[in-house]
């Protein structure tokens, strides 16, 4: 159990608790965080769970897969530390992680 903070585009903060192994997308959905749709349920098929990980935490989120990279490459608000939330499985080392949400999903 640890904490992850989602910050909406308008700076509204959502501090959530998580169990390691849950994806960032699922944590956001379970906590009704607006701005994360996750329409396909985590199959990396829709591109509606775009998140921007705080710089200092990016290294802890693992590597970006080829499909994820292609999806992200067409996301208008793509940043250096963008990820699709469904592709980031949380670990105990992510306790305290902060992610920012884009204004729009694809």
């Amino acid at each position: 159990m640890g904490k992850i903070t989602f910050i909406e585009h308008d700076n509204t903060e959502h501090v959530t608790e998580f169990e390691a192994g849950t994806t960032l997308m699922q944590i956001a959905v379970d906590n009704a965080v607006p701005g994360i749709d996750g329409d396909c349920g985590g199959e990396c098929a829709c591109g509606t769970c775009h998140m921007i990980v705080a710089d200092e935490w990016f290294g802890k989120t693992g590597s970006i897969g080829d499909a994820e990279e292609q999806m992200l490459s067409m996301t208008p608000e793509r940043a250096q530390t963008s990820r699709l939330g469904c592709q980031v499985k949380t670990t105990a080392a992510m306790d305290g992680l902060t992610v920012h949400l884009p204004e729009f999903q694809m």
């Binding site: 959905v29 379970d30 906590n31 009704a32 965080v33 607006p34 749709d37 329409d39 396909c40 349920g41 199959e43 990396c44 098929a45 829709c46 591109g47 499909a67 292609q70 999806m71 490459s73 067409m74 996301t75 694809m106």
Partner: protein, 410 residues
């Protein structure tokens, strides 16, 4: 808001559309009572994995749930599961449930989904003939998928083919019978059909096209032993899966006198003929401003998008439904992502080759991209979403030239 000002919104059905509506209302901080009445014992769940990794035994049941049941209840939303809605009384604005209780509503949202199309033919009530629509169906089928079992699948659409891919992985002998001359004929073009045909054949599935089924042959103790064909032959079977499509669930709406036409008829705000009743998802024949005609769509994206539209309507925002539909399917190592509806195309452009691991087919009408099917090429899907939504006119050369950057077309 005082209690007297609180209204009650009742959602009939517990599928993806219902779940997405609950989530959206939560995200938008909807202030009224929300009650979901679902016939299945489960909270809203993802159906797409049923024929894929859930059937293959790769994911747990709980991971299918859109969110754990406790999350809704903690947020003050009620789930009444395992009960069926028997009747809508529009005059008194109540619904009668199968446990004989009644529920009062101020606004009602019908998210009744669909039911499987049954094959009515001699022998169709034999044991061992399966359909796949919900968790219970999938659990029942899954326990039969043991190595060496002969599974015959009637219907070569998404569900049949996804089940074929999942079953062959488990060592099952799989035969697919398709009446048309190509697979997935209703939803995709000939290149994609040929590609998936080759995939299934290479995996060891016995795919038979132009093969119409006439009935089922009985074995011992009322069990199915084979599938009989129009050409007089029989395909031996230990189990059969019939996957020949779904029918929108409109019985409640029809009995309540709401306009239906192969689907509950709704406008672009998801309103039915009764201003206090909305309908969303697979059960609807709906107006989407993206199309020129009424549509019925069987897809998660439609369920979710209509749910968002309905949430806005419930909150007095009136945001018309205007998005391009999209779909996906996973079979073997193939990630198929689709956007738009290709039926009325007058030109097809292939990017890459169907011999490659990744390629895309663009469907054009009068020079505009109306649909894209992308195989292991998510960028083509994402670009396609933009092109289709904005009806972009694009040259066939730019789409087919693998050296040209797709992203530059948007």
């Amino acid at each position: 808001m005082t209690t007297s000002e609180k209204k009650t919104t009742v959602i009939v059905g517990g599928g993806h559309a219902a779940g997405a509506l609950m989530t959206t209302l939560l995200q938008k901080k909807y202030q009224h009572e929300v009650v979901l009445v679902g016939e299945e014992p489960h909270p809203p769940y993802q159906r797409p994995p049923l024929s894929k990794n859930y059937l293959a035994g790769e994911v747990e049941q709980a991971s299918l749930y859109l969110k754990p049941r406790a999350v809704y209840e903690k947020a003050g939303q009620q789930l009444r599961l395992g009960v069926r809605v028997e009747q809508i009384d529009r005059d008194n604005k109540t619904i009668r449930l199968s446990d004989q209780s009644t529920l009062k509503y101020d606004q009602l949202v019908l998210a009744t989904g669909s039911h499987v199309r049954r094959l009515r033919a001699p022998g169709s009530d034999l044991q061992g003939i399966h359909y796949l629509h919900d968790i219970a169906d999938t659990d029942a089928l899954r326990e039969k998928l043991v190595p060496g079992t002969r599974l015959v699948i009637v219907g070569g659409g998404y569900i049949g083919l996804e089940v074929a891919a999942s079953a062959i992985k488990k060592g099952v002998n799989v035969t697919v019978l398709e009446a048309a001359d190509r697979l997935m004929q209703r939803v995709t073009g000939p290149e994609m059909s040929a590609f998936f045909y080759a995939k299934h054949i290479a995996a060891g599935v016995d795919v038979r096209l132009n093969t119409a089924v006439t009935g089922f042959e009985a074995g011992d103790q009322g069990r199915v032993a084979g599938v009989t064909l129009a050409d007089g032959g029989t395909v031996p079977a230990d189990i059969v899966l019939v996957s020949i499509g779904v029918i929108p669930e409109t019985a409640l709406a029809e009995a309540a006198g709401l306009p239906c036409d192969d689907g509950i008829v709704v406008d672009e705000f998801t309103r039915t003929g009764d201003p206090d009743i909305l309908a969303i998802g697979d059960c609807t024949r709906h107006r989407n401003l993206f199309f020129e005609k009424m549509q019925r769509l069987e897809s998660v994206a439609n369920a979710v998008d209509q749910a968002r539209t309905a949430a806005a309507t419930l909150m007095g925002e009136e945001k018309p439904y205007d998005s391009a539909p999209w779909f996906w399917s996973n079979q073997y190592d193939v990630r198929l992502q689709m956007v738009g509806l290709s039926q009325n195309h007058d030109q097809r452009v292939l990017r890459g080759s169907t011999e490659d691991k990744e390629f895309a087919v663009f469907y054009l009408r009068e020079g505009c991209v109306i649909a894209v099917d992308a195989v292991n090429l998510p960028v083509a899907f994402m670009v396609g979403k933009q092109l289709v939504q904005h009806r972009k006119s694009v040259s066939a050369e730019a789409l087919s030239d693998p050296g040209a950057d797709l992203k530059a077309l948007v």
